[in-house]
């Protein structure tokens, strides 16, 4: 089966600009996650979707970050405006019934 797809793989923007990331989960996985991973740390959950509904967005900085999963399949994560501290890898994952998560390759964002 195809894995989790993410694009772009790399993005460099200046602070105060906006950026969007795209994710297509494994077919049939109802749960989709967006994580932020800073170098040397574990993934930090930003938002969790169940189909097209939000299950948990408690750690999403809602003043600048937004995410949607309109048709319950692919999803986009947007940052507007970006700050220097948003430089990180943004990982998308989807999960099966038993809870193990399958990750995409991530998008490495550099904010200058």
């Amino acid at each position: 089966e195809a894995g989790v797809a993410q694009s772009p793989r790399y993005k460099i923007i200046e602070k105060r600009q906006s950026v969007a990331f795209w994710c297509n989960p494994i077919s049939g996985h109802a749960t989709l996650y967006w994580y932020q991973q800073i170098l040397g740390q574990g993934p930090k959950l930003l938002i969790q979707f169940q189909n097209n509904g939000v299950v948990d967005d408690s750690q999403l900085p809602k003043d600048r970050f937004s995410a949607e999963r309109l048709k319950g399949v692919d999803s986009t994560l947007k940052i507007q405006p970006a700050k220097l501290e948003d430089s990180a890898v943004y990982l998308c994952a989807s999960s099966s019934l038993w809870g193990e998560q399958y990750f995409g390759p991530g998008t490495r964002l550099t904010v200058t």
Partner: protein, 114 residues
């Protein structure tokens, strides 16, 4: 406060030896625990899941133990190989059904020397 701690120092071992990684947690009561492998520039890859009522799980050269009294999981790689070099993440699992969630440790870097 709630904490998940993995070996803070990188682990260096000789090929063929058993690598043992630890995951300790405080003030959590996870329903299950998962271990993932992460290579540089890649997303984490699922390895093993162990539930709170299970003491031990094995998969090929991998073994995981889960002690809910000690609040600790040990992850063993036997007959280690240089290809096992990676960062290993533990994640505590909560919830069931559509509301499953993971809380992640920082990871332990393992280097297996030939």
């Amino acid at each position: 406060s709630q904490k998940i701690e993995q070996n803070s120092e990188a682990l260096n071992i000789q090929e063929g030896k058993t690598a043992t990684l630890t995951c300790n947690y405080t003030n959590y009561s996870p329903a299950y625990l998962q271990w993932y492998r992460q290579d540089p520039g890649r997303g984490p890859v699922f390895l093993l899941l162990i539930r709170e009522n299970e003491k031990e799980k094995r998969k090929e050269r991998l073994k995981v133990t889960f002690d809910t009294t000690l609040k600790q999981s040990l992850f063993h790689i036997t007959a280690s190989q240089p290809a096992d070099s990676a960062t290993y993440l533990c994640a505590l699992g909560f919830g069931a059904g559509n509301n499953r969630k993971l809380i992640w440790g920082l990871g332990t870097s393992l280097a297996v020397n030939p």
